[in-house]
Symmetry: C2
Amino acid sequence: MPNERPRSGLRADTEETRRAILRAAQSLFMKLGYRAVTTRMVAEACGVKQPLLYYHFSDKETLYLEVHREQAAASRTALERIAARQGESVPVRLSHVVRYLRQSYQQNMSLFFHELRYEIHPSMRAAMRDLFRLSIITPIMSIFEEGIRAGFLRSPSEGGVPPRLATYLLLSTLSNLSMSTEAEGELEHDEGSSFEKEYDPAEFVVQSLIYGMVARPFIER
Amino acid sequence: MPNERPRSGLRADTEETRRAILRAAQSLFMKLGYRAVTTRMVAEACGVKQPLLYYHFSDKETLYLEVHREQAAASRTALERIAARQGESVPVRLSHVVRYLRQSYQQNMSLFFHELRYEIHPSMRAAMRDLFRLSIITPIMSIFEEGIRAGFLRSPSEGGVPPRLATYLLLSTLSNLSMSTEAEGELEHDEGSSFEKEYDPAEFVVQSLIYGMVARPFIER
DNA sequence: CCTACCGATCGGTAGG
DNA sequence: CCTACCGATCGGTAGG
């Protein structure tokens, strides 16, 4: 009889389904936002019926939290690894950070903040904020802190940007990148400076933040 | 008999109601976003019943468009006036721009872009994008263009930031400002450099973008 | 400018 | 893991 199939087999299937739901939910939440994604869309995207979601997750918000928990774990690993590469300069590490976040948090980071503030129940906010701080803010901040300690970046006492604000500035440029490429294609036919190396928006944005836009260029090239 | 009340009187009342709806809708849409705002919330906020909205506006999206039309007209006037102040430096004018947009578009600018992309019917997108370009992008871009012409900012051919990208970079920092002040209060106790003038986030962000974060400070102070 | 109400869809539950 | 279904709420309409 098939019921002597071991519990581990059952659990494996069940776990596989749970992970399929999480994957589908992650993709949808990141692309469309919490409110625009319905539980039925998630179910259909992974080939199950909607009420099944409530067997694996107690409600929609918990599913959302779980998605972010997974994403946060992955981000933390990746970003801490990048931050620890002492052999690479601060701008190079920041470019890697931007590239990683751009493909990971596909859309803008501020959609997430909007949801945190307006769509998510207050009782869940603290947990999500902590996830975000530990997995995103702290690793990036450590790069800026190191840049200041090394004398490469101005310290706040010299009128420099405090590391946490610098981190938020960097993160906010992520939403920018999708904004500008969507609004129109200024970036592709950048007809002056992109003859030696192909254009990389991540590097470009980091260079702008670090070196500014003012004349008398500092830029090493 | 009261029915000889002139049509202009009737129209005035009707116009007044229409404007009350627009004001309520603007405040709610800016704060909560298109999807989170229900037509019943708008109606209640201005003291009418929900079906009345459909006498003044053909549907929710049209109301949303009309709100943005009004906002765009006001922004265009304000921003073009700021851009035209030849007596003020580029950073000073940009600080005024940031201050204006911060109080006008209260929340993040990228919420608007998200809605443009995912919540608004394609047939309405083009009109809204045009509004945004004419009232926000173009005036700000002209400030950056002037800064480049004057030799204050690097031109794109010297590795500088193209004016349109610079504009989007500036706009993206607006969402940042709300992000960072919400996440925690790094900004208030900025314990090094803020003894001479009170801390102004708008000016601070503009200075960062223009002069960068790198050491060997250029900053005039 | 309102009352009354519609079809659709949402998050979530019952019961197996 | 499903079928069947719930109460609530949404955008929008009928009719006056």
